[in-house]
C-alpha cells in the first residue's frame, strides 16, 4: 500500500497505480481526452497533467502514466496546471473548432475563443482508435502515418481494411466523432477527405 496526498486529501492505493486511477478511485476528477480505462495509456493529449511535489521539488507530469509513490504530493488544480490545460485546450479548439467534446472541455476550463486562426480538422490524433484496434479487437488495422502536423490515422495504403470485422470500437472511443459508422462499417477521415478532394477535382 502506498500513501500519497491528492489535493490535500491523504489516500492509500496499491503500488503500480497511476495518479489518474488513484484520483478517480477517490472521486477526484481530472479531464482526459486520449485516455480510456481499458486501453494502454498514451500520454499524448497532456490534458490530464498534474503538478507533483517530491522532496520539495515540483514538476508537471501526465497523471495517466505517472505511477504513485510513497509520500507524493499531487495538485490537480493548481494555477500552473490550470494554465497548462487552458493552453492545451486552446490549441485543440483551434484544430477542431466544431467538436462538441472539445467545446465542452474548453468551456469548463474557461476558454471561449482561441486566439489563433481556426483549422478545420476533425481528428485530434489521440490514438484511441489505433489502440482499440490493436488491443481490444486485436486486428491491428489502424496506425499513425506521417509525422508532425501532417500526421493522420490510416489503414495500410489508405484502403478500407478488408480484415475489418466492423466491431465499431474505433468509432465508439473516438472523442471527436471523426470516425462514423456508415452502412454498418466504420468510415474514416481519410476516406471522407478523399471523397471531398475527389468532388473538388471533379
Amino acid at each position: 500500500m502506498i500513501t500519497l496526498t491528492i489535493d490535500g486529501k491523504e489516500i492509500g492505493v496499491t503500488e503500480g497505480t497511476t495518479i489518474l486511477e488513484a484520483a478517480r478511485m477517490f472521486g477526484i476528477e481530472i479531464p482526459t481526452l486520449c485516455y480510456h480505462p481499458v486501453l494502454s495509456a498514451h500520454g499524448s493529449c497532456r490534458l490530464c497533467s498534474v503538478e507533483v511535489v517530491q522532496r520539495g521539488w515540483s514538476r508537471v507530469v501526465v497523471s495517466c502514466l505517472y505511477p504513485v509513490a510513497q509520500g507524493l504530493e499531487v495538485k490537480t488544480n493548481s494555477e500552473r496546471v490550470l494554465r497548462l490545460r487552458r493552453g492545451i485546450i486552446e490549441l485543440l479548439l483551434t484544430r477542431c473548432p466544431d467538436s462538441e467534446r472539445i467545446q465542452a472541455l474548453a468551456q469548463q476550463l474557461g476558454v471561449d475563443k482561441p486566439r489563433f486562426e481556426r483549422d478545420e480538422h476533425e481528428c485530434i490524433l489521440c490514438g484511441l482508435c489505433v489502440r482499440v484496434c490493436h488491443e481490444v479487437s486485436e486486428k491491428h488495422l489502424l496506425n499513425f502515418v506521417d509525422r508532425g502536423f501532417e500526421k493522420e490515422v490510416a489503414a495500410p495504403f489508405y484502403e478500407p481494411p478488408e480484415e475489418c470485422i466492423a466491431c465499431g470500437g474505433c468509432a465508439y472511443v473516438c472523442p471527436t466523432g471523426a470516425i462514423r459508422i456508415v452502412d454498418g462499417k466504420p468510415e474514416f477521415l481519410w476516406q471522407r477527405n478523399k471523397q471531398r478532394s475527389g468532388e473538388k477535382d471533379g
Binding site: S49, V62, R147
Partner: protein, 641 residues
C-alpha cells in the same frame, strides 16, 4: 591476430608506430566529410596519381579532420629529420607542385599553416620530439600548431587523434596508446571500480542534458533484468553541428573502446550504434573499425583473452530529428515508429525491449578511455566545479575561423568567438551566438563572458546542447532567427503530443506573421503563453525546449520584435516584406552593372546617370547590392504606418 596479452598489444603498437612515422616522406590528407566537401578527394587523386607516375617512395594516408574547416583541404607532410608541416587550402594543382617540390626540398612556405616539432601521446602524457636536425632555415618562422590562435586555447581530448591517425587502421589507434584502457579494465579492474572512476571524473553526458555518466552506468548495472544494452547515440541532427560525425570519421576506435569499457562496467554483451543515414562516411568508418576490432579480438567473444563477450551492431537512422531523443531512438531501434515515451520509468531500468539500457552519445563514449588511462583526478582537474573535462563545439556562422573546436569547460564564449574563432568577418559587429541547437537560445554580446558550463548556459536561457555554436552578426534579424528554428522544429515534431504538434506550429505562424509585417499587439504575449504550454506540457525535450529560441530572443532582443510589430520595420534589414531596395543617387556612377544583373529588369537609368529601382518590380533578391562596386545599391527598412 587476436590480442590476448600486453606483448601482443605492444607488437601491434610497434606496427602502428612504423606506419605513423615511416622512415620516408609521408603525406596525410584530411579526408573527413568537411575536407571532402572542399575538394580533399581531388587533392588525394592528384597526389596518388603523381606519386605513382613518378614512381616515388612516398607514403600517402587518409586521415580525419584537424578541426580547422576554414583552411580545408588540409594536408600534412612528414619528412625525415624535419618538422611536420600542415598545408592549408590545398588544390590538385598545388598537390602536383607539392610532390615535385618535396623532391627538391623546397615546399612553398606560403601554403604552410603551421608546423609540429613533436608528437603528443595524450594517453601517456608524453611528448616525443621529432628529429628535426635537418630542418630548413625557412621553417624557423613558421608557427607551431600550438602557437596559432585557433589551436592554442584548445585542449583536445576527445579529438586528440583526429587528423593524426588513419581512422581505417586499428594499428595506428593502438600506436597512440589506444585500447590500453580497455586492456587495463578487463585485466585489472572490477565493474565497480570502473564505475567509480567514471563517477569521480565528473564526466557528464555530452549529448546535451549533462546527466552524470557514471551515475547512469551505476543505475543501469543495478537495474533488475537481463540482458542489458549499451547504446551509442550518433543521430546528431542539430543544424550546423558535426562534432560526433568528426569523431566517428576521424577516430572511430575511441568510441568503440569507450563502449566496450562501458559494457563491461554495466554488464552488457550487446551494443548498438544508432547513426544517422546522412553520415555515409561515418558509417563506413565505424563498420571498418568494428571489423578490425573483431579481427584483433577486441569485439566478439573472449575479448583480450578474458571471458568477457561484447558485440556491436550498427543501426542507421531514417532521418527523423526526434530519434536523437533517447526513448524515440530506442523505439526506432526496435523497429517501431520513432516517437518518445514518458520517462517516468527511466530507460536505464526499462529501455530497449523493456530491458535496462544505457545510452550515451558519441563524444561521451570517446572521453571514457582517457579517463581510465589518465585517471579520474586528472579529468576532474579540467573544467569548472560542476562541468568537468572538455567540450567540442562546431563554430559556424559569421565567424572568421569556422571549425570544430575542443575547449576545457569554463572557457568564456568570448574567448571561443574572438580568439579561437578570430571574430566576426568584414568588420561587422557581433550580435548574438546561438548555442545548443534548435532547442538552445541566443546569447547577446553583454553575456559573452559566460563560461562554457552546463548550468551557466542554462541560466542564460540557452543550453550546452550537443555543441552547435552559430555566430550571428549585426545583419541578422533575431525574429527571423527564431522563425527559422521554429520552422525546423515544426517539421521535426513527431506529432505525438498536442503541445508540440500544435503549439510549435502556432508559434511559427505567429512569427511568420510578425516577419511579414502583419504582427498585432498582443503577439508577444501569445508567444509567451505558447512557450509556457510547451515547457510544462510537451512530452519530450524536443517540445519542452522548443520555445527557447523564442524566449531567449524575446528576453534579449525584445525591441526587434516591437519594431516588427509596431513600426512594421526590420531593424537588421532582413525580412523581405519590411525592406525596400534603393540606389543612392550621390554614390551611383551609372555604370549600369546592377541594371544588367537585375533578374527582373527592375532597375533603370541612363549610362553615367544615377539609376533607380522600381520597387513594384523589385523581388528583393539582393543581386544589385552584391554587384555594386560603389556601395550605391542599398536596402532600408523605414517602417509602415
Amino acid at each position: 591476430m587476436k590480442i590476448t596479452s600486453l606483448n601482443d598489444l605492444q607488437e601491434v603498437r610497434e606496427q602502428g608506430l612504423a606506419l605513423l612515422h615511416p622512415q620516408k616522406i609521408k603525406i596525410s590528407v584530411g579526408m573527413a566529410t568537411c575536407g571532402l566537401a572542399t575538394g580533399a578527394g581531388k587533392v588525394w587523386d592528384a597526389l596518388a596519381g603523381e606519386i605513382e607516375k613518378a614512381g616515388l617512395d612516398i607514403a600517402l594516408e587518409q586521415t580525419g579532420c584537424m578541426g580547422f574547416c576554414q583552411q580545408e583541404p588540409i594536408v600534412s607532410v612528414q619528412q625525415p629529420k624535419k618538422p611536420r608541416i600542415f598545408l592549408k587550402k590545398m588544390t590538385p594543382d598545388k598537390a602536383l607542385e607539392l610532390v615535385s617540390s618535396l623532391q627538391n626540398n623546397a615546399v612553398n612556405t606560403e601554403w604552410i599553416l603551421a608546423k609540429d616539432e613533436s608528437e603528443r601521446f595524450l594517453i601517456e602524457d608524453k611528448t616525443v620530439p621529432y628529429d628535426i636536425s635537418e630542418a630548413p632555415a625557412v621553417f624557423a618562422d613558421i608557427p607551431l600548431c600550438t602557437d596559432i590562435d585557433f589551436y592554442n586555447k584548445q585542449l583536445k581530448i576527445a579529438l586528440h587523434n583526429c587528423g593524426y591517425i588513419d581512422p581505417g587502421n586499428i594499428c595506428e589507434y593502438i600506436a597512440k596508446g589506444g585500447y590500453t584502457a580497455l586492456f587495463k579494465v578487463l585485466h585489472e579492474m572490477t565493474s565497480e571500480q570502473v564505475i567509480s572512476e567514471v563517477k569521480r571524473s565528473g564526466l557528464r553526458g555530452r549529448g546535451g542534458a549533462g546527466f552524470p555518466t557514471g551515475v547512469k552506468w551505476e543505475s543501469c548495472r543495478k537495474a533488475p533484468g537481463t540482458p542489458r544494452y549499451v547504446i551509442c547515440n550518433a543521430d546528431e541532427g542539430d543544424p550546423g553541428a558535426y562534432m560526433d560525425r568528426s569523431v566517428l570519421e576521424g577516430d572511430p576506435h575511441s568510441v568503440l573502446e569507450g563502449m566496450v569499457i562501458g559494457a563491461y562496467a554495466i554488464g552488457s554483451h550487446q551494443g548498438y550504434i544508432y547513426v544517422r543515414n546522412e553520415y555515409p562516411l561515418a558509417i563506413k568508418r565505424i563498420r571498418r573499425a568494428i571489423e578490425q576490432a573483431r579481427e584483433y579480438g577486441i569485439l566478439g567473444e573472449n575479448i583480450f583473452g578474458t571471458d568477457f563477450n561484447f558485440s556491436i551492431k550498427i543501426n542507421r537512422g531514417g532521418g527523423a530529428f526526434v530519434c536523437g531523443e533517447s526513448t524515440s531512438l530506442m523505439a526506432s531501434l526496435e523497429g517501431k515508429i520513432g516517437e518518445p515515451r514518458a520517462k517516468y520509468i527511466r530507460s536505464v531500468a526499462r529501455g530497449l525491449w523493456d530491458k535496462p539500457s544505457n545510452l550515451n552519445n558519441v563524444e561521451t563514449w570517446a572521453n571514457v578511455p582517457l579517463i581510465i588511462n589518465r585517471g579520474a583526478d586528472w579529468y576532474a582537474s579540467i573544467g569548472t566545479d560542476r562541468s568537468k573535462g572538455t567540450k567540442i563545439f562546431s563554430l559556424v556562422g559569421k565567424i572568421n575561423n569556422t571549425g570544430l573546436v575542443e575547449v576545457p569547460m569554463g572557457v568564456s564564449l568570448r574567448e571561443i568567438i574572438d580568439t579561437i574563432g578570430g571574430g566576426v568577418p568584414q568588420g561587422k559587429k557581433f550580435k548574438a551566438v546561438q548555442t545548443g541547437g534548435p532547442s538552445g537560445g541566443c546569447i547577446p554580446e553583454r553575456l559573452l563572458d559566460l563560461p562554457v558550463d552546463y548550468e551557466a548556459l542554462t541560466e542564460a536561457g540557452s543550453m550546452m546542447g550537443s555543441g552547435g555554436m552559430i555566430v550571428m552578426d549585426e545583419d541578422t534579424c533575431m525574429v527571423d532567427v527564431a522563425k527559422y528554428f521554429l520552422e525546423f522544429l515544426e517539421g521535426e515534431s513527431c506529432g505525438k503530443c498536442v503541445p508540440c504538434r500544435e503549439g510549435v506550429r502556432r508559434a511559427r505562424q505567429v512569427l511568420s506573421r510578425i516577419t511579414a509585417g502583419e504582427g498585432n499587439q498582443g503577439d508577444i504575449e501569445l508567444l509567451e503563453d505558447l512557450a509556457l504550454t510547451l515547457q510544462d506540457g510537451a512530452l519530450c525535450a524536443l517540445g519542452s525546449s522548443a520555445a527557447n529560441p523564442v524566449i531567449s530572443t524575446l528576453s534579449y532582443f525584445r525591441d526587434e520584435y516591437e519594431a516588427h510589430i509596431r513600426d512594421k520595420r526590420c531593424p537588421a534589414g532582413v525580412c523581405p516584406d519590411l525592406i525596400e531596395y534603393y540606389i543612392d543617387p550621390e554614390a551611383c556612377t551609372g555604370c549600369t552593372l546592377c541594371a544588367r544583373k537585375c533578374p527582373n529588369e527592375a532597375i533603370f537609368g541612363e549610362k553615367k546617370q544615377p539609376h533607380r529601382i522600381d520597387t513594384e518590380k523589385c523581388i528583393k533578391c539582393g543581386a544589385c547590392i552584391e554587384v555594386c562596386k560603389f556601395g550605391a545599391a542599398r536596402k532600408r527598412s523605414e517602417g509602415r504606418k
